[in-house]
Amino acid sequence: MNGRKSVDQAAAELSAETQASVYHSTKVTHEKRTKLLFDQYKNPDQLRQWAGEVKQHVIDNLDSYLPAVEARMQQNGIKVHWAATASAACHTVLDILVARRAYRVVKTKTMVSEEIRLGRFLQHHGIESVETDLGEFIVQIDKDHPSHIVRPIIHKNRREIAQSFEREGLGAYNDDPKTITMRAREHLRHKYMEADVAITGANFVSAESGRIVLVTNEGNSRFCLAATRCHIALIGIEKIVPRDQDLPLFLNLLGRSATAQELTVYTEFIKGPRHEDQLDGSDEVHVIFVDNGRTDVLESDCTEILRCIRCGACLNVCPVYRQASGHAYRSVYPGPLGAVLSPLMMGKRLFFEKADLPKASSLCGACHEVCPVNIPIPDLLLRLRNRAHVRGVAMEGSPPMGAWSVLASQPLAWRTALSASRVLNRLPTDLLPIPALQAWEQSRALPEWRGGAFRKWLAERRRPS
């Protein structure tokens, strides 16, 4: 585990209170999601398959979609930038800000900005960047990290948040959610008015029209865009859908999968800077297409993970995530999606640092069952386990399989070993120096060894009498 805490250890150390609230809210969201989808659609699984096929088509043809999107956006008056790495993306943002002499930025929630650690970078360069999504704002004042890709503060309770607000001078301690929200709103209103530039992500980009689609529930993206003259959108290169008419499929699935809503409260379509005949809109729109490891994923045998639309449904249904919460995954992307994406995004050289994450799954398949773009997550986890094995990444506690496979391909040896295993019934197995056996018996009783009993029964039964 390279000296790092395993997901299991992290789960064991999680406070019971945090675990209970993560469990409760993921469970409720998952159940509402399922009910909504199955109440409203005859066959939601068909929708998931279509959406998966559309996204896979884009991923398989990114080399033609990306130049097409760039050309379309440029026609629309958008300045398009390309960033191969996190650092390049950060510097591109900084260059735009410096050119505008802009020192105050308001941000909407974007996972790409978490990936490239933009907040820290901007702060380091003397730029005030304020998160305007309430959850992300709380993460920011606490100098914390999101633990869920849709609900960044799923690991915090309102008492903790009230303490943070008091500490930050946002009012005397009050843990009433409405009061907390109103105080944040009051604080953020001023920040919008002071800001020079808005930074957002994008949920989808239409290749056909070059439109950027942004969804939020708090309306903060509107405030960001209305109050500033310049808009910078950080967009992962996989966010493209072919046509505007594909958007309803994805928007219908995204809202339902993420938060059990038919549609998120605000959905914005941004085609480019303001026309002369438009009252509102940005004077300048920049799009930064970010690679940051995505082309490594394209080269791998796990390209399906690039279909992901960041809804978090796989986190919500995942029994491991429910026990461990997000920080256990040591990555921007936690849960089943993160267990695939995070090690891949490390690149080939550093893959080993997160090669343990694909093991943090019982391979139950619930993630695949809920995924709105039908990503076969368990298959991808298995491929990455194989990759780790082939690369010789040492994995703490994983029983070696070589000797077992030799035994299991030699029937005589197998039968002998099975019969011999009965001796274990007479031994204090919990004291044997076999880690797997010890880990089992720590919390579970072992059944009686009855190796060979079935074969004996069968032989006697079939003996001609």
Binding site: P319, Q323, S362, M401, W404, A408, S409
Partner: protein, 240 residues
């Protein structure tokens, strides 16, 4: 295919499977050379070790007979897992062919043989745990259909039935805290409906859940789906 788990621990489940298949009028062969489906190494990431075992299984089950397995997990390994790890291998088609004629027991009885009612008697309230490897297949529905058709049986649904029990093969020993917590949650839901017996089509889940319940000092009765069918049949005067 008896499965390695039944070979090592649960001989009566293998016996019950055989008895059930004979009861519906089939001649059952048991290839003596069988060992394991190869799943432990497949899940562990050691695909070359796993392929060695799958190739052994291919040889052992050569021919065109349907392969019946009292486990959704081993069935999924042969139908889905093995083809995945053989994607670039020259014997992929042989692996796929074996996968196509491999059936989970309940699926085979209901969809392969068209049996939707099971005779006999079994007086019990049953909580049926649908194992995760039957996701996307017709196995769980087939098993509950047959169980519910047995006179005397009441099948009770319990909360969060779609959630994993926490076994997960080597996951159960490499992630013992999470695995146990998942098991506890499952047991809580199961106990809430007060079943006489917890039934599944996979002994791995039952080994984990039953082992946990015993360790806690609150043992629960567990039986494989095949054992219920067999016992119902025997109660009806059937012969084993």
């Amino acid at each position: 295919m008896a499965t390695c788990l039944c070979d090592a621990f649960y001989d009566d489940v293998a016996a019950a499977t055989l008895q059930v298949l004979e009861f519906v009028g089939l001649d059952v062969e048991f290839p003596e050379g069988q060992t394991c489906c190869g799943q432990p190494a497949f899940n562990g990431g050691d695909w070359s070790a796993s392929r060695r075992v799958v190739r052994h299984t291919l040889r052992t089950f050569a021919g065109d007979l349907p392969v019946i397995v009292p486990s959704g997990s081993c069935t999924a390994m042969l139908a889905h897992g093995a083809p995945l790890e053989f994607e670039k291998e020259r014997d992929l088609s042989a692996v796929q062919e074996l996968g196509q004629r491999t059936w989970e027991l309940a699926d085979f009885l209901v969809h392969g043989r068209g049996i939707t009612k099971w005779p006999g008697r079994y007086d019990a309230t049953i909580a049926f745990h649908r194992s995760c490897h039957s996701r996307g297949s017709r196995s769980a529905e087939a098993a509950t259909t047959l169980l519910a058709s047995i006179p005397g049986v009441t099948v009770k649904e319990f909360g969060e039935g779609e959630q994993c029990c926490g076994f997960g093969g080597t996951f159960s020993v490499t992630f013992p805290h999470i695995s146990t917590a998942m098991g506890d949650l499952k047991l809580e839901h199961i106990r809430a409906v007060q079943p006489d017996v917890l039934v599944s089509a996979d002994m791995s889940c039952l080994m984990h859940l039953g082992g946990r319940a015993t360790k806690e000092g609150k043992p629960i009765k567990t039986q494989h789906f095949a054992q219920i069918l067999r016992d119902a049949m025997l109660a009806n005067g059937g012969t084993a």
